[in-house]
């Protein structure tokens, strides 16, 4: 999130696309409804379903799954055609605009209607609503990302906000709601296969930086790998790890995957779940660390599995990061009960037995405070350095002194600081940055320009135009020594830059001169390292519109995409819709969480949502001869097949099937409840929607495409 949940209170309009915040982030509605009531801010909801959020909206836009990019480019085009773009903002703080404008021109309201199913008049109306009610807060969630062009879709969202001039402003911003309290923190620590913590990447420089932070010899780390080349190569991802075992698609690694550690995740949130199960059965070793035996633990049917019961969040403590980039301290309420251990202890016992405790715990004597301190020391890219355990705890203790509207403390021990010191928090005195890219405040007071990340000058292949990537003269934070754009800081301490100078002198020098350590640049509309340098629509791999596949085809197949061959063009078959005529999309329900291991083990939540179902429009149901409440088979093109209850509702249109993905513990109509350790089966088991979600992965991130597949439905 560039802004915060609280800052949405200042929005003059809100657009949600691929986000069902009422069910996935119910507490955020406190601020959203405040903006609606107090500012008269219209809520626009763009979704394939009439969600519970749509029930609160002023404008509901029903979109065909996977066509988000076309709609947003259409809005951008409509804004530009009417002269509603923020000309000053674009001229001074945006790059690649003319090139982007030319691409957007293709997406007229009529073209958008053909691709998305949204009436041309409604695209025009929404563009006008956004233009007349600025600033707009834009929110997307997994409905925006989980597509094979998810990386283009999310960029289109950002470009729309740039064109409207809504970035770096209170009430505006791109506000991607993250999940429960430490999803943002886990992301920032890069629990990912292509980056070391804090987005440093996998280059030699990144490894050397972290080795200095850990105080561990770089050569020792090199010696832990088979060959050095694997240190710098992206690993397998959560979406495709199973191919590392099964190798149905060719892998680029010297060995198949033999063991899997599954720490705090239900793999039934993984698409292609039938293959995931097959891979789990084939592993030499599967370890599940979770407070509850997960659905995956039940699905795995070989004797290769170990369950390590871990403590819940109430039985341990430590720093966690919220969706608003705020860092909070979680205090322990009770000691771990029922024979479980907290995550730190489980980790420590593993490390001890694996024999590298000396290196692992070099800086970590006091757990968990020293872990936070190590993050403070190393995570400079995103300014995790000012949030010491002492400061975090001070904020928690003085919670009542912070203003709900501004998040700033009024008097008291934290006077002037922003709650949770939202990152970047550059120094021990810095108040945190409540809104990213806000040039109305000095950097020392929480302001920031856009980051200079991609060089000072670029030449665009599509136009041959050369453009300076630094912000225009006169555009900077108050008090900046350089009045205009400037590159990132380096060589203040020779041989280092602001990201690698562990003395943090570089950062302090920049702030002292009123400047941002990372420079002052323009936000890009053109990303020259992506296959689609400017976002364009491409039909979902499994598309219900063969005619559009021809016009907007997918990418060429991609070998070695996170170590596995990934099909695009060879998977996009225009004939598929004949056998699988309905679009399949998935999502959340408010009562359950993720894979549901925890919530389906709660008797009251299970009472409220006791059964897996598929939402079917009554018109489609009646045409298929199905009755409301009957059991149906949902089948996927990959052979996945599940038996679920039909739930007739007009939330979905008559071409779309929706299923929640929280259920597990049943497979192809068969209950696996007996596979749980005795007395530990959840109250509710059900088929996993992800048995049926289709093949398809983002071209950049490899996130699974669970929102725009195809399926067939028949009476069971």
């Amino acid at each position: 999130m560039t802004n915060s949940l609280n800052d949405i209170r200042h929005a003059k309009s809100m657009i949600f696309i691929g986000s069902n915040a009422t069910e996935a982030h119910p507490v955020s509605l406190q601020h959203i409804l405040h903006a609606k009531e107090v500012n008269n801010a219209p809520i626009i909801v763009v979704d394939p379903r009439f969600t519970k959020l749509a029930a609160k909206s002023d404008e509901f836009v029903r979109i065909r799954p996977g066509s988000d990019c076309a709609f947003i480019m259409g809005l951008i085009n409509e804004v530009i055609i009417n002269g509603w773009e923020d000309k000053q903002f674009i001229k001074t703080r945006v790059s690649g605009y003319p090139e982007m404008k030319e691409v957007a021109a293709h997406y007229t309201p009529e073209v958008v209607e053909d691709i998305t199913g949204i009436p041309a008049a409604q695209t025009r109306k929404v563009a006008k609503m956004l233009a007349m009610n600025r600033p707009t807060s834009l929110t997307w969630c997994m409905g925006g990302t989980q597509h094979h062009i998810g990386s283009s879709i999310t960029r289109a969202f950002c470009i729309l906000q740039l064109v409207l001039g809504n970035m770096g402003k209170s009430g505006g911003g791109t506000n991607i709601f993250r999940g429960h309290d430490n999803v943002q923190g886990a992301t920032d620590m890069c629990v990912l296969s292509h980056s070391l913590p804090a987005y440093y990447g996998l280059s030699d420089g990144a490894w050397q930086h972290w080795c200095r932070v850990w105080d561990v010899d770089y050569d020792y780390i090199v010696s832990r790998f088979k060959d050095k080349e694997w240190m710098n190569a992206n690993g397998f991802t959560l979406a495709r790890w199973y191919e590392g075992v099964l190798q149905n698609d060719e892998i680029t690694q010297y060995t198949p995957i033999k063991a899997l550690f599954q720490w705090g995740i239900g793999l039934n949130s993984n698409s292609q779940f039938a293959k995931v199960k097959e891979a789990m059965d084939k592993l030499d070793l599967l370890v599940v660390v979770d407070p509850f035996p997960t659905a995956t633990a039940a699905a795995c049917e070989s004797d290769n599995i170990y369950l390590l019961p871990s403590a819940s969040q109430y039985e341990t403590s430590g720093s966690v990061t919220s969706t608003s980039r705020q860092i909070q301290w979680r205090y322990k309420i009770v000691d771990p009960i029922g024979g479980c251990k907290d995550d730190y202890t489980i980790m420590q016992e593993l490390v001890n037995r694996l024999g590298f405790a000396d290196e692992f715990y070099k800086n970590i004597k006091e757990v968990p405070e020293d872990i936070t301190r190590e993050i403070n020391k190393g995570a400079l890219t995103i300014g995790y350095n000012g949030q010491s355990p002492e400061r975090i705890k001070k904020h928690m203790e003085n919670w009542h002194t912070f203003d709900i509207e501004t998040l700033q403390a009024v008097g008291g021990p934290c006077d002037g600081e922003y709650y949770g010191m939202p990152w970047p928090c550059w120094t021990d005195e810095h108040p945190g940055t409540p809104i990213l890219y806000d040039i109305s405040k000095s950097v020392a007071e929480g302001g920031l320009p856009f980051r200079n990340r991609f060089g000072d000058v670029a030449t665009y292949v599509m136009s041959g135009r050369e453009e300076i990537q630094l912000a225009e003269k006169g555009v900077c934070n108050p008090g900046s020594e350089v009045e205009g754009g400037y590159p990132e800081f380096k060589d203040v301490v020779p041989g280092t830059n602001w990201k690698t100078d562990l003395s943090q002198e570089t950062i302090k020098e920049a702030i002292g001169r009123g400047m941002a350590p990372f420079g002052n640049a323009r936000a890009r509309c053109v990303v020259w390292s992506f296959p689609d340098q400017i976002p364009i629509h491409r039909e979902p791999l499994h598309s219900p519109r063969p005619d559009l596949i021809e016009k907007y085809p997918t990418y060429e197949d991609k070998p070695n995409h996170y170590r596995v061959f990934t099909k695009y063009k060879s998977e996009q078959n225009p004939e598929l819709v004949k056998s699988f005529p309905y679009v399949l999309t998935t999502g959340r329900m408010v009562e359950h969480m993720g894979g549901g291991a925890e919530t389906r083990s709660n008797k009251y939540l299970s009472e409220l949502q006791p059964e897996m179902y598929a939402e079917i429009n009554p018109r489609l149901g009646n045409n298929l001869g199905i009755r409301d409440g009957e059991m149906v088979w949902i089948e996927s093109p990959e052979g996945g097949k599940i038996k679920v209850k039909a739930f007739f509702t007009e939330r979905v249109d008559d071409k779309t099937i929706f299923m929640p993905f929280h259920f597990g513990g049943m497979l192809a109509g068969k209950s696996l409840a007996g596979n749980y350790p005795e007395g530990h089966a959840p109250y509710v088991v059900g088929e996993s929607a992800n048995v049926c979600t289709n093949y398809g992965y983002d071209i950049i991130t490899q996130i699974q495409a669970t929102k725009d597949g195809l399926c067939n439905v028949s009476r069971a």
Partner: protein, 194 residues
């Protein structure tokens, strides 16, 4: 003397069920007994509205009027409570209540009529405040601690208001006043189409 009231602000209720879960977890209510529930009309269609409902603690409570053994009674602050030790489980209150508030333990095909259970406004029952007996029969007594009921305390959007009727009314009046113009105003969609 103030009178205790619930009010569910329908514009704010998002059907999250947090009130139901707070009530059940906090008072250890058996599965199948619903002191509070969230109801939805026009599910999945334009005009969808949800609201949370429980015992309304009526001023002239029909349940009290019909109870043949005077198990139901009203406190001075308006909270309507049942004495489970007096209740004979006849179900007259269930028939009289316009809101379906009285609940009975679930059992076999025809149900098992035990003593009636309903929302206590988190004010316990006739037993001694905070006694083990009160806790067992009625759940928490938050009113005696000066706290609002669990359901309202939990409500994420502050749709569910509970407390002194005058204060509740004043909060709601203030909200309605702010909603009275622009996109939230009644008739806005008809007056300014598109």
């Amino acid at each position: 003397m103030s009178r205790m009231k619930f009010l569910c602000d329908i514009e704010r209720c998002i059907d999250c069920g947090g009130c139901v879960i707070a009530c059940k977890e906090g008072n250890h209510i058996p599965v199948g007994v619903n002191r509070r529930q969230v109801l939805t009309i026009n599910q999945g269609k334009p005009g969808e509205k949800s609201f949370s409902t429980a015992c309304m603690h009526c001023s002239d409570a029909p349940c009290i009027a019909v109870c043949p053994v005077d198990a139901l009674y009203q406190r001075e602050d308006g909270i309507v409570l049942v004495s489970k030790k007096t209740c004979i489980g006849c179900g007259y209150c269930f028939m009289a209540c316009p809101f379906g508030a009285p609940q009975f333990p679930t059992g076999e095909v025809f149900g098992a009529r035990g003593a009636m259970d309903k929302c206590t406004f988190c004010a316990g029952g006739p037993e001694e405040n905070h006694s083990a007996e009160e806790q067992k029969l009625y759940g928490q007594n938050r009113i005696a601690e000066g706290k609002v009921p669990l359901c309202a305390a939990m409500c994420a959007t502050k749709a569910l208001l509970a407390g002194d009727g005058n204060t509740v009314a004043s909060i709601y009046r203030d909200r309605q006043f702010k909603r009275g113009s622009g996109v939230n105003a009644w008739g806005q969609d008809k007056a300014y189409q598109g």
